[in-house]
Subunit: 341 residues, 2 copies
């Protein structure tokens, strides 16, 4: 209701998906405005504000556009201690995981993201042994890390137990990652976990966080990168999810300059095409600590030569060594706008 007591909705703030509701019931838009994330047929990305419980349909991370998926069935919807967790069966992208209104993965294209964020760092160094995954509670990154037979330890630090539980129920092809005996699960805040990590413990750290709003906010700041660098061995590598080069050059610039200050080896930006992410891409920042030099652009540990990597459960579907090298080719506007590439 507006201040005058009418039931009129501010149409400018209602997303396409929710308007679908009106075709069923005149109250549906109101209900939609009261925190329903999928209404009668289509899901569109939006964002819940934790402050005032209102819904922002014009997501501030990508204003003026929306990608919508047709919904066959809502399978799960609950608020965890940290965020709203939603799972639905879509009409054409199979099952979909949504956190706080933001699409995290679909079963149809998840492999592109999981394979790239795992193999870009792990194929850039010889024989990685100790790996830390931050976030990634769905298990998909674990599944990919496990392809590397040199790896002896896979720590994962995920803040939200509900994401893990939901993934084990609804996304078995991802949660299979948890079954590897090398995996050790730590359910806690990554900042607290990394503080306790002995200096130089890991060969590689993969930060599979959600967007830097909500629980992942601290994971794009310099203090976090300093802790990461401390937890890596000399010449160890970080791969950090780094948004869309079309939409978030300001944020990418900030992350890159923080990383340049912290990581004294190399710092690079790479990207992959993932259809269901905004603008169809997702970026990665790849950094190495001072020590043996790392040339991220030329995989020294090619997946095609890894024993068992191509047979583990199923072949990689997106990543290969050509795609690895190509991921570092940046459009001219990105080179211009991201000053510290």
């Amino acid at each position: 209701m507006d201040q005058s007591g009418n039931n009129e909705i501010d149409v400018a703030t209602i997303p396409p998906c929710c308007l679908k509701a009106q075709a069923f019931s005149p109250n549906a838009v109101l209900e939609a405005n009261c925190h329903a994330t999928v209404v009668s047929g289509w899901f569109s990305e939006h964002q819940n504000s934790s402050d005032d419980k209102r819904m922002y349909f014009n997501n501030p991370m990508w204003p003026g556009e929306a990608h919508s998926l047709e919904v066959k069935e809502i399978l799960f919807k609950e608020r965890s201690k940290f965020q709203e967790v939603l799972v639905f069966e879509s009409a054409t992208y199979r099952k979909v995981l949504v956190l706080d209104g933001i699409l995290q993965l679909t079963e149809r294209d998840e492999f592109a993201y999981q394979e790239m964020i795992a193999h870009l760092p792990l194929c850039s160094i010889k024989s990685p042994k100790n790996v830390l995954v931050v976030g990634g509670g769905d298990g998909g990154v674990l599944r990919e890390v496990a392809r590397h037979s040199s790896v002896e330890l896979i720590d994962i630090c995920e803040i939200d137990q509900m994401v893990i539980d939901v993934s084990k129920i609804f996304f078995p092809d991802l949660a299979v990652g948890f079954e590897d005996p090398r995996v050790h699960l730590h359910v806690e805040d990554a900042l607290e976990f990394i503080k306790r990590v002995p200096k130089g413990k890991y060969d590689a750290i993969i930060v599979d966080s959600s967007d830097p709003v909500g629980p992942a906010q601290d994971l794009v700041e310099k203090p976090f990168f300093e802790m990461i660098a401390n937890a890596l061995r000399p010449g160890g590598v970080l791969c950090n999810m780094a948004e869309s080069m079309w939409l978030h050059t300001h944020l990418i610039n900030n992350m890159m300059s923080a990383c340049r200050e912290v990581f004294k080896g190399s710092v690079h930006y790479a990207w992959a095409n993932v259809p269901t992410y905004p603008s169809g891409v997702i970026g990665f920042i790849l950094c190495s600590t001072e020590g043996p030099p790392v040339d991220f652009r030329n995989p020294v540990n090619p997946i095609e030569k890894l024993e068992g990597a191509l047979e583990h459960e199923r072949e990689p579907r997106f990543y290969n060594s050509q795609i690895h090298r190509a991921a570092f080719a940046l459009p001219s506007f990105v080179k211009k706008q991201v000053s510290c590439l």
Copy 2:
């Protein structure tokens, strides 16, 4: 109205954008169902059927998903002899051109497509002189071809005069391409035009068609490719728009195998990331006729060395030689699904 005479709408067929209408007026959805392409606030892609004048919101080219743009103002909407032409000012992607309900370009990201479809072929051969553009009535490809100072003749064959006129009014940054004195405009069916072309006339042909529904249907069939090959000199090149590797592998397979039969030089698939196209990508088939071999993957005519290419109007914003090489790196699933790569 349904058969019972009620005003009830089949909700399953109504797209997100049109439901927005209901918030304004109970009749708006009905109006939307009667051929309005943008209704009160948001545009979503759909397709008009020329047979029964109904609107299909679940576009058969990408069922179960929709990308929507917030509309600030509709600037033009008219039916040409061939298709419905719509121009609107969007909230965050500047001006947008839509043909038969399918987004053709936005001013914010058009350069990625135009630069790639023009420079992938033209930077793959030395000193291109005679170039034919099929479609491309917006002028953007002409603008890019004109960067090549070796080019002496640019023929363009566009079927729809309205696209050209609309572009000159609303998209001056694209239509600028028509101002180059080397450009010769032919407004007619490309199949008729190419029939009359003397054998071996062109060094390069660029097919900037719309999706293979409506006027562009014939442009993905073998007879068309045979005429193209005939119009090219030995070792001449074709670059043909070729859909999304995530959504249309069947169509890509068909086009690739037709091209393999016709073009006896090399045949390759490349792709680029264009945010406002379905799944965030667009593909290109690159072919060369028998003659001096063409290695598409390594530009022999790099744009960075072309005299004046980087100063013409403005610098390229997407294309560079690294992006050129990277465009041919294909995800593993594409290599597997497109059998004749």
